[in-house]
Symmetry: D2
Subunit: 367 residues, 4 copies
């Protein structure tokens, strides 16, 4: 109810603040019998963590995931899985000034209006740090898919106005921007360096592509697969837009252009982005997400304090120039979570499966 | 769970099919004491209904809303409110061919994969007719706001690639396209007539603007106001994209451009679209929605049948050239539903309100 | 949220008032492909309906169930199923006096405190008539089980202090009290006739027995099968207690007596009532429910009016002497609804099933 | 969905196993601005903890509650509150035998059927240790009430067949049985000592009494206050029955006896147990709960192993003779959680409150 849970059947609840003891997530509804250990999280957590690159924060986030519950002798038991990530480097001094003054573009003001108080140290729940919980949960959700060989890959399609042209998933990991186009990645570097020099920040667009998703996932009417995907990605801080398949471009096509012809071998085009009527059609699911520039910039800004008095704010410290590369694994995780949830929801609703099941699986005790 | 409900506290459940007995909605969680009668629905239902215009279907939808429950002596009682709209003109002949052949761009194929069956008469639940239930529910949701003087207005920002330039809410109702720019409306008419002549259809973009919304609505982390708005509008058939405030354009701005400065009189700009950190900031909430062209066109299309055999499909009948004007009140209703739900959710979470309340309102029986 | 829905996966939402247009239920989450027609409801609705017996109301409730949605060509489609039962004989005169005066033992006073208003005609939502919706939903829920041959049978174990001794399910339908002991049924008749003569009413105890339920249904920790059963039956008006298996008697046993020994052939005893740790163990599930005497009696009672002024109330009309026989099919339905919901929930949570499934069922489109 | 959450608006999710790292709970929906620190939990956690008495386990449970999130500068922020209790004394040797053999009366067998695996060390989620999370959450829930001066008190009404006669809340804490009748407490001691000598265990009945609860809490139809209370207490392991007010005795009363007359000063009697039509009536809420004897006994028992082979099991160790005194604070906590949830739910549903609110509270930013 209070908004810190997501998913119906594969349900996560995140908790924790940027500058508190740590952050974490409880996963309820994960099937039993899945192998899981703390090392499983290292790769994804490292992807989300700021690297040693010029464009990321100095803050060191070790982000080691502890499994507090739900795993017994190396396998999930069906009990809630709790993952916890301690905050190791939460220096509170730089933020003292923010006790009174609202940062433009941040949630300081709205949290204050909502709750009558505000955890000004690093933004509390509104901090990007919260997304580490989502990435950790995504690692577990991805395991629910393993039998299906579904691939979910995200990358930086556009950064600071520079857009990738040739999409090669193989090179995403070879540049710090997670750009699938090596040549364009070099141009992105220039844009970022320029913004950094100006004490400014840039935004961009992330594309997520799901390959191998079976047809039939999604629920009419409100829990359509695309509706849940839209909510999932829009719930990530800094996201301001989402589109599926042809997206906003579809608004400019005619029906005869936008309809994807169907042949015995599959769909000829994919303007639908893999979803029709809110249900996956077996083709690639394509989601694009607009990410705004980071609001923390090293320039003086006009704002007010808690008493609505005019104030000038100049933040100092080392800020990221862009959140886009770090948000890539977060958006991937959100898509994975939606798919895991709908996969489990799918199972309950076909009578024929139930009948098959009743014949082949003896749930009854006795002779 | 099965996806036909929306909202947590102000919760609607829609039901009914395009060519069945009728469609309807149960609203659970509406406060008691609100005046409500069947006439309250006439204006909005008429707005959603196809008019006598050249671009709409011949099908006559009277769309009279019956109140089946929840109102006693002219006021809501707190009990579930059931609204029912009978189908009056459900001719089934033209659809017989669709028993076997999937229509491109429609949900026929995905429903078949999801449920193992498909109500091919008019699309069943996937029909645009389902949205009448949402509009009816929106009428009730709007009443929850009345004490607040919140205004929610939607209009056709773009149609067939033609975009409104000067936004004048006063003229929305003066043209059949619900375009807020009279001059542009004339150009839209040309585009639509041309598409009609070609047996084709066009899409567009709807903008919804909320004025007067108090700051503080929305829940972190997953039930952010923008996340719920994104889900709400994306759950409407034909919607392929959504953006808040500057939206995809924000991805191309720098932080110094995108941040909205705050002054004692309010925000100087509104790139945020009225929402920061998932919570309303008191400024106008601005949502834009991409609507694809109607997939039913009078042109032969390539498809398959239930046995995946190649087929050619040529639909005949009188189809709408565009869904955009009719979707305007539907999207308005979805935004209203989200706001009503968050308004009620807000009330439960500030301790100070609780304390005030405990002093001023005697809930206890006795002397 | 507002409390008119029940179940997670097989979810029902009831609506309607005793003296309004009618009552009904929306079932969301029913699997597709199940045969369903209006005649399927006749038997159960007749069981709940007051018969021509001396102990039931004169009010004629035809209780014909209309299917408003969710069935296409004789089978469920996966869409929400709406069932509607019109009120045919809602005379409102006798209730006018209740506009001001609260009936003792009824919900008049508490609804007034809760909502600030009260549908005094027949009790509105608090009327026993609401249970007809539950019985109708139970008919659908029972169909979800058909592959499993689970039997759910309820009967009057005790009435007006007279308790059945020899339980013979075969005779339940042969007496108006739904007593499984013919000899005791005769004594019940005497008790009821005596109470009737006194213008009074009697309560009783209903026992529900589930045979053939597979082991493994139920969720720890809060959604235990017995916890959900307790809520289900306690949500029926007039119910004041519930026990599982040995129930309150277990509180007086020693562990060595209460533990049910397990053998290769099954459990030796069934003090557990078929549930251990909140999960079904394959043995018979046994639930007993205490039903209070009907509060509407033909005797003068002490009460107050809406202004808390002292009042004397003497209801006239023909009232039931007892609700117990009519509540029997209602409680049966509630148990069936819980089992259907947990059956569907079970399916999502065993990884092994998922893997089997991924191999045997091709959800993917393409070559 | 998977059953580890409870409550709608004040929602808790518990996690952790008896012999894992620890147990805990996430509370989502707690209002902001409430003072909370780790010392607040000491009293209640100590009450639940086994004391130095002869009838409790040797296991030392320090049960120190750590606040992992949701509190900033000593007050709740509206963010999820996470409470964690480390397991300090989890010796695993004695349980190795239970890897193969199911304990009668425990959840070993049913968990195995449900999940295909079983955390045999101390019962995993099925352990009584899980209830510590509930008690901790109850401490927070109780704070939500503070403005209302509601008192929730539980005690041992009956133990091993011995029932308290004179109820004096003042003496509950003066004897290890939490019996409100000092004279009867002495008899309870005898019964317990005798059972202990026999290597056996005893059950009992706990009564919970809520004083000062305002009228108007509870939701029709399914989320009745008594229905939610029934679920809440039945979800605690070892509970086999629940009754409200006169409970099972009401089934033997006539309507004229059971109806509580209403006078300008309040209800004359309280057979209703403070709840009418599922909504609190302002009188004391009275709940009685049947607790079965602890299934772990020092006597040889008949059972089977995972291959359904016959086995004899003789548990050794030091077991509690009864769970009743320790379950008292757990049941109190469950009742408190239900009341907190319904208190918050109440707030959203009266239009008049909304209107008052809109006038007195300026949520809008600007001039």
């Amino acid at each position: 109810m209070a908004g810190n849970s997501f998913g119906e059947f594969f349900r996560i609840t995140t908790f924790g603040e940027s500058h508190g003891i740590g952050i974490g997530v409880v996963i309820d509804g994960c099937p039993s019998g899945i192998s899981l250990c703390e090392d499983d999280f290292v790769t994804e957590m490292t992807r989300r963590r700021p690297g040693p690159d010029f464009f990321s924060t100095a803050r060191r986030e070790d982000d080691r995931v502890e499994i507090l519950s739900g795993v017994f002798e190396g396998r999930t038991t069906g009990a809630p899985i709790t993952l916890f990530i301690r905050n190791r480097d939460a220096r509170s001094q730089p933020y003292e000034i923010l006790r009174e003054v609202f940062r433009p573009g941040h949630a300081d003001y709205t949290y204050y209006k909502r709750y009558g108080c505000f955890d000004f140290k690093g933004g509390g729940r509104a901090s990007a740090r919260e997304t580490a919980s989502r990435v950790a949960a995504g690692v577990v959700a991805r395991k629910v898919f393993e039998p299906f060989a579904i691939s979910v890959v995200a990358y930086t399609l556009e950064l600071g106005g520079i857009r990738a042209v040739n999409i090669d998933p193989g090179v995403i990991h070879t540049n710090p921007f997670r750009c699938p186009d090596t040549r364009v990645a070099a141009q992105m570097e220039e844009v970022v360096l320029k913004a950094k020099k100006d004490g400014d920040s840039v935004g961009g667009i992330v594309e997520i592509r799901v390959t191998g998703c079976p047809a039939g996932l999604g629920e009419p009417v409100f829990d359509k697969l695309d509706a849940d995907l839209a909510k999932a990605v829009m719930s990530v801080g800094a996201v301001k837009g989402v589109e599926i398949g042809a997206g906003f471009e579809a608004a400019r096509l005619r029906g005869s252009q936008n309809n994807d012809p169907i042949t015995p071998k599959g769909f000829v085009t994919n303007h639908a982005g893999g979803i029709l009527g809110g249900i996956s059609n077996g083709d690639d699911i394509v989601v694009r997400v607009a990410v705004k520039p980071i609001p923390s910039i090293e320039r003086e800004q006009e704002t007010v304090d808690r008493k609505r008095r005019s104030a000038r704010l100049r933040l100092s410290g080392r800020f990221d120039v862009t959140a886009v590369p770090r948000i890539v694994p977060v958006l991937e995780a959100m898509v994975v979570l939606v798919l895991a949830d709908h996969r489990l929801r799918f199972k309950g609703q076909r009578a024929e499966e139930m009948q098959e099941h009743s014949g082949t699986h003896d749930m009854r005790y006795g002779v």
